[in-house]
């Protein structure tokens, strides 16, 4: 086979080993590049993210579990990696596609390892030198679809067959693969005072990001993190004062166990959900979810909060969405995406509950909506005072 040269930047990489490879989608479209390391293979749903920073947070976010993430930004890896920003102990993505991965040594005072090295040790299939603009336009036009990263030596036909064999995201419960297997406690470490007591909250884990736990902790909540399929009676055993439904990967409608748990708590305890947690709360209310053509993955999504009239720039990562027409009365879609008019937040009239589709914890992304964690705490405080 002739070596692949077109479309691949002349990486000043030196010792990094690269293998001609391609991302092949289940519709037969193929995007060539150079795979990091030897014969690394990866398969999953290919989605694109427009973030210009925060690559390590993305690659360790359990919500991306099993996906092939395509970065649209020109350069990735410039500032190396640092475990402080990890959202989970190891990389979560199935594969990653770059326009240009920074191969030389990263120059940043916080960098512990270069991104190529980090990807190699995390066994993430990585492809660089790809025409990511063409790939992104393809996904925008044809929708997010399954694909494989494979060496060119595998042959185009074999790659296509493998891409078609990847299970569809629709109806797929991926949360069960990433949530904790045993409950654990995370005290906030703040001394309770008269003005600022510490409350107990249960976190229903579907693949929770570390930064969410940090945000909940830092507003004065002692946490018990439960596996996403824990029955509500068991959670009540710890007498939590509020319940948080975490982010996570996959199709919310496949998580019927969590929908039942959310339904149990609705109206009984203050509830707050983010991303998959939001979708589960929407389902628990009696609503429906549907799959977006290519999802929202980026750090620049404008969301209008109808209650304040203000626009928040938000970090987003979701492929599914709550259908506003399916919501019963008493549940109000109070936040909307200004780009495509999809639902971004729900609020309950009669129950202390709210949820958002976007990521107020950011990491990566803008911090405009971090105040929502304090709102959850306030809700717990008010509910506790009435009880």
């Amino acid at each position: 086979m002739t070596p692949l040269t077109t479309g691949i930047p002349s990486h000043p990489g030196g010792s990094v080993k690269l293998t001609p490879a391609a991302l092949t989608l289940d519709d037969g479209a193929s995007f060539a590049g150079l795979a990091l390391g030897g014969a690394v293979r990866a398969e999953g749903e290919a989605i694109f993210i427009t973030a210009m920073s925060g690559y390590q947070e993305v690659l360790t976010d359990p919500s991306y579990h099993g996906q092939i993430v395509v970065f649209t930004t020109a350069h990735v890896g410039n500032y190396g990696t640092n475990r402080e920003v990890d959202q989970a102990p190891e990389p979560q993505v199935a594969g990653v596609v770059f326009h240009e991965l920074w191969l030389p040594e990263a120059v940043h005072w916080l960098s512990e390892a270069d991104l190529p090295e980090w990807l190699r040790s995390g066994k993430v299939g990585a492809l660089t030198g790809v025409d990511t603009r063409a790939l992104t336009l393809h996904i925008r036009e044809k929708g997010a679809r399954n694909g494989v990263i494979a060496p060119l030596s595998d042959g185009a036909e074999a790659a296509r067959a493998r891409a078609r064999a990847v299970p569809s995201m629709n109806g797929l419960d991926l949360a069960v693969r990433v949530f904790t297997k045993a409950p654990y406690k995370l005290p906030c470490g703040l001394a309770p005072t008269e003005e600022k007591p510490v409350y107990r909250a249960a976190v229903l884990d579907f693949g929770v990001k570390r930064s969410i736990l940090e945000q909940l902790n830092s507003c004065g909540l002692d946490l018990t993190v439960w596996p996403g399929d824990t029955p509500p009676e068991k959670i009540m055993g710890e007498s939590p004062q509020g319940v948080f439904l975490a982010n996570g990967p996959g199709d919310p409608s496949a998580c019927s166990y969590a929908v039942n748990t959310a339904r149990h708590f609705l109206g009984r305890l203050p509830l707050f959900g983010i991303c998959l947690g939001h979708q589960i709360m929407g389902l628990a209310a009696g609503g429906k979810t549907y799959k977006l053509p290519f999802g929202h993955h980026g750090l620049n999504h404008p969301v209008r909060d109808e209650d304040t009239g203000k626009v928040l720039i938000t970090s987003q990562n979701h492929g599914f969405c709550v259908d506003p027409d399916s919501l019963p009365s008493g549940v109000r879609a109070n936040m909307w995406n200004l780009n495509d008019g999809t639902v971004e937040g729900l609020s309950w009239d009669a129950a202390p509950a709210f949820c958002v589709q976007f990521h107020p914890e950011a990491s990566p992304g803008p911090h405009d909506s971090r105040g929502l964690f304090a709102r959850f705490r306030q809700m717990i405080k008010e509910h506790d005072a009435q009880a």
């Binding site: 973030a51 210009m52 020109a74 920003v85 005072w109 720039i313 803008p366």
Partner: protein, 399 residues
């Protein structure tokens, strides 16, 4: 909040003669602003002393005055045309200074003219080094150690404290005119004298040197409903010590982690909120590459050279949006003409943008070809590329 109903006639201040630091960027932004306000059915009165500009072309404004940009002339025009408001944020530092002069002489209040886009208080916080320093301190933001001086002796005293090299920044000047870096006491004597003469108020700021730190700029826009977006982050390839106008710059920012970038974004929003910004603004930061310590350098509460660059780099029409905000709109009520989506968003780039300066030292006999705090570039090129190398080489070839 829709368009204000009480405005019929708005006076726009142009940028006057082309000088180093203030060239066609401001013609570009004022022209964009004129068109944006014309769409709103406002009667526009334009003052600009430079006829060789697009903004003075017939048809862009209802009345165009090609007259000296002085307070007396501006006041005569105000009395004649009776505008309800004056928009000084599209014509660079010249327009901003003229508006401040009109305000201080009481001309605006006498004729009942309101300053829109930036009120005098916002301009003063940004322009007065002392008030800026106090405001940043009250927000808990880090700034370089500095002190004001009004005489050469005072300047030397201050520099003994901050140490050499020390930066000299004259108050109320354009493109860093009269500024410099003193590496010794004798250099300070000369540069302090030069700076004091360059400042219209005879005041200079002596500042701790941040030479070698990373230099970052955020172009942001905010409305009076407190919605704000960062249109573009720009990183200077030349570190601190070379004027931004003389630096090779790249967008998006390439060497900050998301944690660092978002912390900087938060600070920029806090500054904009604290000064009550309405419209476009540019905030500059320096970041120590060894420790990550970040300090605020300055903010310009107006459309600047960098915003013209950011507009072209991202397709976000900063001057147009700023003009619309100045007459009462909110960001979420405006549309980005290119994306046909809300103007309240932050552009994400899948390419690199590089700006390279153009120097013409051979035409300025006697001018020192050493780069420093005073802008020397007479022009610039901007190039887009699929990666940094491509954009840089295109920008250099374009020179």
């Amino acid at each position: 909040m829709p368009k204000r109903k009480d405005l019929e006639t708005v006076m726009i201040l142009g940028s006057g003669p082309i000088v180093i630091g203030q060239a066609c960027e401001f013609d570009y932004s004022a022209t964009q602003g004129c068109k944006a306000l014309k769409e709103e059915g406002l009667r526009l009165v334009l003052l600009n002393s430079n006829p060789a500009t697009v903004m003075t072309d017939p048809g862009l404004s209802d009345r165009t005055y090609i007259e000296p940009m002085t307070a007396d002339v501006a006041l005569d025009i105000i009395r004649l045309e009776k505008p309800q408001a004056i928009l000084p944020t599209l014509g660079g530092q010249t327009a901003l200074n003229l508006a401040m002069e009109l305000h201080e002489k009481g001309g605006l209040s006498e004729c009942g003219v309101e300053m829109i886009g930036a009120d005098p208080d916002v301009i003063e916080v940004a322009e007065s080094r002392e008030r800026f320093r106090r405001t940043m301190a009250s927000l808990g933001l880090d700034i370089p150690a500095s002190a004001l001086a009004h005489t050469v002796e005072e300047a030397i005293d201050v520099a003994e404290g901050t140490g050499y090299p020390a930066i000299i920044r004259p108050s109320y000047t354009l493109g860093g005119t009269g500024g410099g870096i003193a590496r010794s006491r004798s250099e300070m004597e000369l540069l302090a004298w030069k700076g004091l003469n360059a400042s219209p108020v005879g005041q200079i700021l002596i500042e701790q040197s941040l030479i070698g730190w990373k230099e970052m700029e955020l172009e942001m826009i905010r409305d009076l409903g407190d919605n704000a977006v960062i249109v573009c982050g720009i990183e200077n390839v030349d570190p601190m010590g070379v004027h931004t106008g003389d630096s090779v710059t790249v967008a998006p920012i390439q060497t900050l982690t998301d944690v660092e970038y978002q912390a900087m974004r938060d600070e920029a929003l806090r500054v904009a909120r604290a000064v009550g910004l309405n419209g476009g603004c540019n905030i500059q930061f320096a970041v120590d590459p060894r420790t990550g310590r970040r300090v605020v350098i300055e903010m310009n509460p107006r459309v600047s050279r960098s915003s013209a660059l950011a507009s072209k780099a991202t397709g976000f029409p900063i001057a147009r949006v700023a003009a619309k905000l100045s007459v009462g709109y909110l960001l979420s009520e405006l549309q980005n003409g290119i994306t046909r989506k809300s103007a309240c968003f932050e552009p994400a780039l899948d390419y690199c943008v590089v700006k390279a300066p153009r120097f013409n030292f051979e035409k300025f006999a006697g001018a020192s070809p050493v780069l420093g705090l005073e802008m020397r570039a007479v022009g610039e090129t901007m190039a887009l590329g699929g990666n940094y190398r491509e954009a840089l080489q295109k920008a250099l070839r374009g020179l």
